[in-house]
Symmetry: C2
Subunit: 130 residues, 2 copies
DNA sequence: ATTTGTTTACGAAAATATTCGTAGATCAAT
DNA sequence: ATTGATCTACGAATATTTTCGTAAACAAAT
């Protein structure tokens, strides 16, 4: 229960979080520029969205200079986790395995990635033996 | 482009689809009864939702008897696929592998399931060699 | 045939999410 | 100090999603 996270991000908010998780931090303009590529919305729309997200506790911001700098206030991992859980629940009959296989089947993975996953599976098995 | 599927289901609609995918088909009352366990909403709310879904082409229905029987009109697989893709895109930095590992890490899987996944990985590798 | 319970249809309210116009602040360059 | 560009704040319009009240149809039981 560290930072406010009982607010589940909306679709648009997720897009912004995604951008900030990658960038690390950024101004409204920077975020907006990325957003524009996949979406068309005005600058003030992005601004407003980010302000709301700040109010909700989804973003932190540094207002020390005129141009504010924003940063995600919730971790990518915990958000991923929440979304995954919900998705497995409602759409994958509660089976994580089903989700994993579906993901592997339709999204080309390189040999390196497959190896990484295999290795990870081994790690899990080791843990379970204990 | 068989049946209308350009309509992405909303959150509530997904819950209903999930139920129908499991049941195969059902009346409003039946769906509502399942829904009630995790949510609280009136009967007519569920009814309306399912009517809308029918209009959108998300559900088929049999109106031959007084009590209509509904069934999902879009496949679970294609829906899973769409959702996975979007999720990987916005929240997992475009990496399916990242999603897979996150899912494996936090949702306990039995040894049987792990074996199944391993086997599936081998299948994929075989395919890629060709 | 009247009552009772269950169903669909419809419309509209309520709640949420998204969008943007406008005004005022700030700063750099003229 | 005026202009121009860029930024934040704010409020409100739009759009979308969710909710439910009410009425009419229907069937089974009294």
């Amino acid at each position: 229960m560290s930072t406010a996270k009982n607010n589940k991000p909306t679709e648009s908010e997720l897009e912004i979080l995604g951008i900030l998780w990658e960038k690390g931090a950024g101004t409204v303009r920077e975020v907006h520029e990325v957003l524009e590529k996949s979406k068309d919305a005005g600058y003030t729309t992005t601004l407003k969205l980010m302000q709301i997200m700040h109010e909700k506790g989804l973003l932190k911001r540094d207002t020390s200079s005129k141009t504010h700098v924003y940063e995600a206030a919730i971790s990518q991992e915990s958000t991923q986790q929440q979304l995954l859980t919900r998705m497995i629940d409602t759409v994958f009959n509660g089976s994580a395995t089903q989700l994993v296989m579906q993901a592997l089947g339709n999204h080309r993975s390189s040999q390196e990635e497959l190896d990484m996953i295999k290795q990870y599976l081994n790690t899990i098995e080791e843990q379970q033996k204990k």
